[in-house]
């Protein structure tokens, strides 16, 4: 068996991977060291003080009680160091850089579907450029899945009916595993794929081939197909709110609550329009629940996103409102209503 067939340490192929490996190495050294010392001490004591005809009775001796304090306080301090390091690393993994490229992912039993902003769609394969931060916005069509890139050391559960985000920046070109890490039914172990990390030039070349138009432009077609444009006009005459410049802003609702217009809000407004009605508008929009597939939904969301900002690739991480939700923050449907406002008047 060749040594290359028998790896003991995974490849490092993202900007966070060395950080994760450094913490892993630290943990191995500290925990392994303490464990080995403990085993050694036990072994020596068990041999030295083994029961012999001369050593039938234990000596009436107790080690000093100060030891007790030592092995409460010292491990605790080490643990706190581990906690701080682990949390610092976690925030690095969670906080999406401002200039990330958007890619959308859908998990369904049992495949991964990826859509690029320019419109390319692929199944169980993901092409990404090296050296650029990639933000993946993802949802599941059925059960909980988990998108896992071992070489990037990142993983996030993919939930039904809720957009979550993860990000990575590849540092190495090549072909690496994608796994589903949350058990999802019969072919869970077949819900795997490959991430192809390419030079940015090759990636551009790859993007140019075979797209049906950008995701946003496909969304625009759907926007007309579903006749959204009859109400959501570009001036204030329509029955629905203007969507130009909407994305990332703070919207005031009819019950005076506010919500940030992010992916989850746009998604909810398409599927369940009455849930959060914008102040000053009648709740007349029909629901599109069950009529728009997850894929088309992503296109529509991507189109509304593109209407909102000139720099489509830029993610507003911090908005003026302190309640704003950043891209990496886990959101749940309905979380936009601040809980403390639960006594507010209803429409």
């Amino acid at each position: 068996m060749m040594l290359s067939d028998f790896p003991l340490w995974p490849e490092q192929a993202s900007t966070v991977a060395p950080g994760v490996d450094a913490l892993m190495t630290f943990m191995c050294i500290v925990c392994g060291g303490v464990s080995v010392i403990t085993f050694f001490v036990i072994f020596i004591l068990a041999i030295k003080y083994r029961r012999t005809p001369e050593n039938q009775l234990a000596q009436d001796y107790e080690p000093p009680k100060a030891l007790e304090a030592a092995w409460i306080i010292i491990p605790f301090l080490i643990f706190m160091f581990m906690f701080v390091w682990g949390s610092w690393l976690y925030f690095r993994i969670q906080r999406v850089p401002d200039n990330a490229i958007d890619i959308y992912a859908t998990g369904k039993q049992w495949m991964w579907k990826f859509q690029h902003a320019s419109g390319q769609r692929e199944i169980n394969t993901l092409h990404v450029p090296v050296g650029r931060p990639i933000r993946i916005t993802m949802a599941s069509e059925d059960v909980i899945h988990s998108l896992f890139f071992p070489v990037f050391r990142v993983k996030a559960d993919v939930l039904p009916n809720r957009y979550k985000t993860m990000w990575f920046q590849a540092t190495k070109t090549g072909r690496f595993h994608i796994f589903c890490a949350e058990y999802c039914g019969t072919l869970h172990s077949g819900m795997i794929g490959w991430v192809e990390v390419m030079e940015p030039v090759d990636y551009q070349k790859w993007l140019a081939g075979g797209a049906e138009g950008s995701l946003a432009s496909q969304g625009e077609k759907l926007f007309q197909k579903y006749a959204c444009n009859t109400c959501h006009t570009n001036d204030a005459t329509g029955r629905g709110p203007v969507l130009l410049g909407l994305y990332g802003t703070t919207v005031t609702l009819s019950n005076n609550a506010t919500v940030t217009a992010d992916e989850n809000y746009i998604r909810e407004s398409i599927l369940n329009p009455q849930a959060k009605v914008v102040k000053g508008f009648a709740p007349v929009m029909p629901t599109f629940q069950g009529q728009v597939s997850e894929d088309d939904l992503l296109k529509l969301v991507s189109y509304v996103h593109s209407l909102g900002t000139q720099k489509t690739a830029v993610v507003p991480v911090e908005t003026p409102s302190s309640k704003a939700t950043s891209a990496g923050s886990p959101l749940k449907p309905g979380a936009g209503i601040p809980p403390q406002k639960d006594k507010g008047a209803t429409p």
Binding site: M24, L57, E62, C184, H188
Partner: protein, 551 residues
């Protein structure tokens, strides 16, 4: 060894001709018994049967994983096997193992009581266990279940077309068995102690059982109600945990782990109690820092409730609550560390007899330490993002549950076997089995840490070819482990008929359970003992024996 007995030193039961086994005859005298010792035997037989069943699933899974392709079982069968392995081992073996067998048998003996506080409820909890087990077996025969033992929604409520309802109902029932056992123990420890047996004279096993019972009492009902909601959702198709209907699947995970994380301590706390008993008996010393070890059990029982969401770091909880749970998770590691260091310190200037129970416990300390420190890896959130849901987690919890709880259970079974049956097991075979279990266990599970860090996800029926070498090692280890577990089954049965009669106290141990005959009489003690000495009072005992017997 036989020269060291407690006779003439302290209160000792006189020999009698009738004991709890020979007191009555016939199947009904066992099935309708209210005697805690007989109920312990009923539990011993039933959990052994289910351990064999759970082990069967494990063995078939390990054989499947010899090759990267899923060639032995279909995907569905494999998924059912790991689900059933988890459910059987956790709900039907590990949780009742030490409490319901050793705890049931020993608690009244250690307390100098005639029985548990509620003997009828004790029998009822065994029947609940059996009803649930029979339901589980029926489900296995008629098609099984494939949700994983965690029953995550919406897979379990909307997508799985296996017997989810039946198996969650069985888990619900066995939960009540567990609650009733815990309740019984708590009341017994509070109200049935012999005169003079104050809290700080209690054996550490009793402290451990006390802490365990608190967890059983206060965590299990939350699992019960969560399963009720799950069953309701599955049958009526409502959306408590279904995002399509406004529910949140993460709420299920919160409520499930509110029980299932503390459940880990239901399994490991009794194991720590056994470790303290065995270490004291085979070093002939009082456990170093008795009060710290006693209080650390209670600390684990409480802190264990504050850390559940560390199972959910990548599931979509808020980053700030993830930090809180990570922080609290490190707290629970402190009392566990205290125990390991205190057992180690007890060996200093002791008289260490490396007999079978002690071999198992030394193995327990080592494996539990590895299981514990790898928990620190998982509590570091940034690292957990990579290793969660991989084989690293599988290895970690097997080190705690098999390397910890099962090793200690084996130790306890050997240590108290002479008391339970009145017979000695063959020492040579037992030592061989202990070494086989230790070696086989490490070969099985240590490679899985590496596999996990390489990125092999858990619950995979087929896997990438580069993971094969480590998987083959793991399967090889599992076969050694299987032999290691099969041996005690044979020689312990053999010893029932051919074992050397043990006498009341073959180890020269202190503790009330060694002061009565082996096997104990139906009433445990003909006269309620009056306790005037501390737990593990070996120095005083040795002094007394030195005077009377000139050892």
């Amino acid at each position: 060894m036989s020269s060291l007995t407690l006779h003439d030193v302290r209160f000792v039961e006189p020999e009698t001709t009738r004991n709890y086994i020979t007191h009555d005859y016939g199947a009904l005298s066992w099935l309708l018994t209210k005697d805690h010792k007989r109920i312990a035997i009923l539990y011993l037989i039933s959990i052994t049967a289910l351990f064999i069943l759970g082990g069967f699933f494990a063995v078939v899974m390990r054989i499947e994983l010899l090759t990267p392709e899923g060639d032995l079982l279909t995907s569905d069968t494999y998924n059912k096997f790991f689900t059933l392995h988890g459910i059987v081992m956790i709900f039907f073996f590990l949780i009742p193992s030490i409490p319901a067998v050793l705890g049931n048998f020993l608690l009244p003996l250690m307390l100098g009581a005639k029985d548990l506080a509620f003997p009828k409820i004790n029998l009822l909890s065994w029947y609940l266990y059996i009803i649930a087990a029979v339901m589980g077996l029926y489900i296995i025969i008629t098609g099984g279940v494939d949700t994983g033992w965690t029953f995550y929604t919406p897979f379990s409520t909307q997508y799985s077309n296996t017997h989810v309802f039946g198996v969650t109902f069985a888990a619900f029932i066995v939960g009540f068995s567990s609650i009733l056992t815990g309740l019984n123990f708590l009341v017994t420890i509070h109200r049935m102690r012999a005169p003079g047996l104050t809290w700080f004279r209690l054996p550490l096993f009793v402290w451990a059982m006390y802490a365990t019972s608190i967890v059983q009492l206060l965590a299990t009902p939350v699992l019960a109600i969560t399963l009720v909601m799950l069953m309701f959702e599955r049958v009526v198709h409502v959306g408590i945990f279904d995002p399509a209907l406004g529910g949140d699947p993460l709420l299920f995970q919160h409520m499930f782990w509110f029980y299932s994380h503390p459940a880990v301590y239901i399994m490991i706390l009794p194991a720590m109690g056994v470790a303290s008993e065995v270490v004291a008996a085979f070093t002939r010393k009082k456990i170093f820092g008795y009060t710290f070890v006693a209080y650390s059990s209670l600390a684990i029982a409480f802190l264990g409730f504050l850390v559940w969401a560390h199972h959910m770091f990548v599931a979509g909880i808020s980053v700030y609550s993830a930090m809180i749970f990570s922080f609290l998770s490190y707290f629970v590691a402190v009392p566990s560390a205290i125990k390991v260091f205190n057992w180690t310190a007890t060996l200093y200037r002791a008289s260490v007899a490396l007999m079978t129970p002690m071999l198992y416990i030394l193995g327990f300390i080592g494996l539990f330490t590895i299981g514990g420190v790898t928990g620190l890896f998982l509590a570091a959130i940034g690292l957990d993002v990579h290793v969660t849901d991989t084989y690293f987690v599988v290895a970690h919890f097997h080190y705690v549950m098999v390397g910890g709880a099962v090793m200690a259970y084996m130790a306890g079974l050997h240590y108290w076997w002479p008391k339970i049956t009145g017979r000695m097991y063959p020492e040579w075979w037992a030592r061989l089995a202990a070494l086989l279990v230790f070696a086989g266990f490490n070969l099985t599970f240590f490679p899985q840490f590496v596999l996990g860090y390489l990125g092999m996800p858990r619950r995979y029926h087929a896997y990438a070819p580069e993971f094969q070498v480590l998987n083959v090692m793991s399967t090889a280890g599992a076969s050694v482990l299987a032999v290691g577990y099969a041996l005690p089954l044979c020689y312990l049965l053999w010893s029932l008929w051919y074992g050397r009669p043990a006498g009341p106290n073959p180890w020269g141990a202190v503790g009330l359970e060694w002061a009565t005959t082996s096997p104990p009489p139906m009433e445990n003690f003909h006269e309620t003992p009056v306790v005037t000495w501390d737990a593990y009072d070996y120095p005083a005992m040795m002094k007394a024996m030195g005077e009377t017997q000139n050892v």
